[in-house]
Symmetry: C2
Subunit: 220 residues, 2 copies
DNA sequence: TCTTTGTTTTAGATTTGTCTAAAAAATATT
DNA sequence: AATATTTTTTAGACAAATCTAAAACAAAGA
């Protein structure tokens, strides 16, 4: 496996988190990475020459097989470091993410595989997200209630248990439907309400009652 | 403490290892970092504006108080990671250095202090080099026989036990004298001979008998 | 279909860190 | 001291990753 820059790795990771069936758009990626659409176009041309994304002008992008492999490797590094920070160094759940963002770009294969072994081959990181194994396999497709979804994990709405018109009205007002991709950004213990983020939109809040009726699937 | 780029940190670390009493020259630093003298000049101007080095054109450079603090912090990170890799992940002594070169640039203060605690506040890294504490203090001035000096550690010749003319002739031929800065690059167990490197010169070999008569001090 | 709106790309500039080649300064030699 | 050699700096260029502003394209509305 070649070596990629921190910037390239961050783009690959972001595309992985945004893409599922469909392809990812320039604006979506720019929003995700807090950068400008023009920068995204530049990088996509570069990643295309490296055969990490499929890309034609104006048509969005998707990871290639190699791109997906790289994404899973970066996610593996990230989640193993998160586990290490929480389990061994006693960092709190909220703190691990930021530090792991840096550690995930240290690219020694041996380091990560030995770390994995040292940690006892953990299957989930401290937020509950599955950790890809050394060959890049990751647990997939588990369906969970939105109120149980770990923070900052992209998931897709796949089922709504209450289908009353009152509920559907609320959902359509919030622009949530089957197939909608979202992440939970914060959980408020006081009333079980959640702050969630939809693709390309700013964060919004939903009540605990609503969350209990929405079911989501992890991304592959 | 501000954040510095990997490149800036590598320059600071290299100056620290080369400097002791005297100041460091452009060519020395270029040789150490495998770069060009012109690049060194460029970087020195930048580090001067950041008040990390004292520098006037054509007069060499020295770390400022802040520069030295930063150097000790980077060395602390490096050596703690080396200890972690050897002790916890079971890397061999020869392997730890390269990986620690990457890990040392992850700059979270909390990460390093918690790692230190997790490791039990070790005082020496796997090569025997002392590890600076959280406040930047490092064990200093210990005098050791050259044959006991850990690999890749800059030290200064401070005493020669045999002062026969035969010995002094050999020393002057090798350009070794009191105050000479050197590092041991390899140790050959077969005959106790050493491969050492002097500032700006390529590696040379010395016999075990000679090494036993040379004493060195660690840099501050 | 034509037009308006919004998205994406291009063109050109900027920053960081590097380089080569040439000029300037310091050191060594005769 | 004058000259030659070595060291260091300057000047100008380049690659990576980003930006702004403007142009090209796609999608939506009239």
């Amino acid at each position: 496996m070649l070596n990629y820059s921190t910037s390239e790795e961050n783009y690959i990771k972001a595309i992985y988190h945004l893409q599922k069936e469909g392809s990812v758009t320039t604006n979506e990626l720019a929003a995700e990475l807090q950068t400008r659409p023009a920068s995204v176009t530049d990088m996509m041309k570069k990643l295309r020459t490296k055969k990490l994304v499929h890309y034609e002008a104006y048509k969005g992008f998707k990871l290639t097989v190699d791109g997906k492999k790289l994404a899973l490797l970066i996610i593996r590094r990230h989640r193993l470091w998160e586990f290490f920070l929480a389990e061994k160094l006693k960092f709190s759940w909220e703190e691990v993410h930021a530090v792991a963002e840096d550690l995930e770009h240290v690219s020694s294969k041996k380091l990560i595989d030995k770390l994995d072994e040292f940690l006892g081959f953990p299957r989930y990181d401290p937020h509950g997200d599955p950790i890809p194994d050394a060959s890049g396999k990751i647990e997939t497709g588990k369906q969970v209630c939105l109120s149980d979804l770990p923070l900052n994990t992209t998931a897709i709405v796949c089922y709504v248990s209450d289908q009353s018109s009152a509920m559907l009205e609320l959902l359509s007002h919030k622009k949530i439907g089957l197939g909608t991709k979202l992440e939970v950004k914060k959980k408020f213990s006081f009333d079980q309400s959640l702050e969630i983020k939809l693709r390309q939109q700013s964060a919004t809040n939903i009540s605990g009652d609503l969350a209990k009726n929405i079911f989501v699937k992890y991304d592959e």
